[in-house]
């Protein structure tokens, strides 16, 4: 039997689709019947969406990219000389 506390523990598995379908059904029912569970469920889901959006990658700045290749060339040459 899934209750509020159990729901807290299962949310990530639910949204990553790692739960058995009967457990998902139980969660869906609980969420539709209990306001507190519904709020937790919705706000957790929204948090995941916001996190996904904020994880956008930035480009490596050009100067960092150039410095990396120069650094590696020098260091690798040094390594090979040893």
């Amino acid at each position: 039997m899934i209750d509020f506390k159990k729901l807290c523990q299962l949310l990530t598995d639910y949204f990553e689709e790692e739960l058995e379908s009967d457990i998902c059904t139980e969660i869906d029912e609980l969420v539709s019947e209990d306001f507190g569970c519904k709020v937790l469920f919705n706000t957790f889901n929204k948090t995941l969406q916001l996190c996904k959006e904020i994880e956008e990658e930035m480009e490596v700045p050009e100067e960092v990219h150039i410095r990396l290749y120069e650094f590696l060339k020098i260091e690798i040459r040094r390594e090979e000389e040893i």
């Binding site: 509020f4 807290c8 949310l11 929204k46 916001l50």
Partner: protein
Amino acid sequence: MPVSDEILVKKSQKGDYPSFEELVKRYEKKIYNLAYRIMGNKEDASDVLQETFLQAFKKLSGFKGKAKFSTWLYRIAVNICLMRKRKGKRMETVSLDIPILTKKEDEIKRELRDDWSESPLATLENEEIKRNLSEAIDSLPEEYKTVFLLRGLNGLSNEEVANVMKISLPAAKSRLHRARLFLRDKLSQYFREYGSKG
């Protein structure tokens, strides 16, 4: 069809520098972003990027291919980040004793009166939300933040995250879940405070 990492690694191990350069090209953006989010500034991220690929080059002959090259590389990067963090000033982080898992049910439900998920303010176009979320991610303890970033930013599977962090799969999943609950809690706090202001 692009050459696989496996082939590039084998060629690099035989001293073919252009193959190693191709591996650098494939992963520099991922490593830079990961380092930037863990270290919190561009200067350190740049240093970590250089150090990661230098160490990778030095250790490449010992790489047996048991794990994916990317997993092995992320592990090097994460270790460098965490070592630099430990050497530097200790960062203030917060406890992850998520109230939601420790409080009484009634007490939590009183806090869950408002469903902010449909609020027009719950968008990253709202700079305050963006800032709040970024600060909340930054304030996660390192072991939680790293798992969160590897899973989200770098798109690793839970198994790969566990491999990079050298922890069990349940531990990786647990850290990820607690980090997400913590972030949800932080956003809820923001909306409660915002509501009380209005």
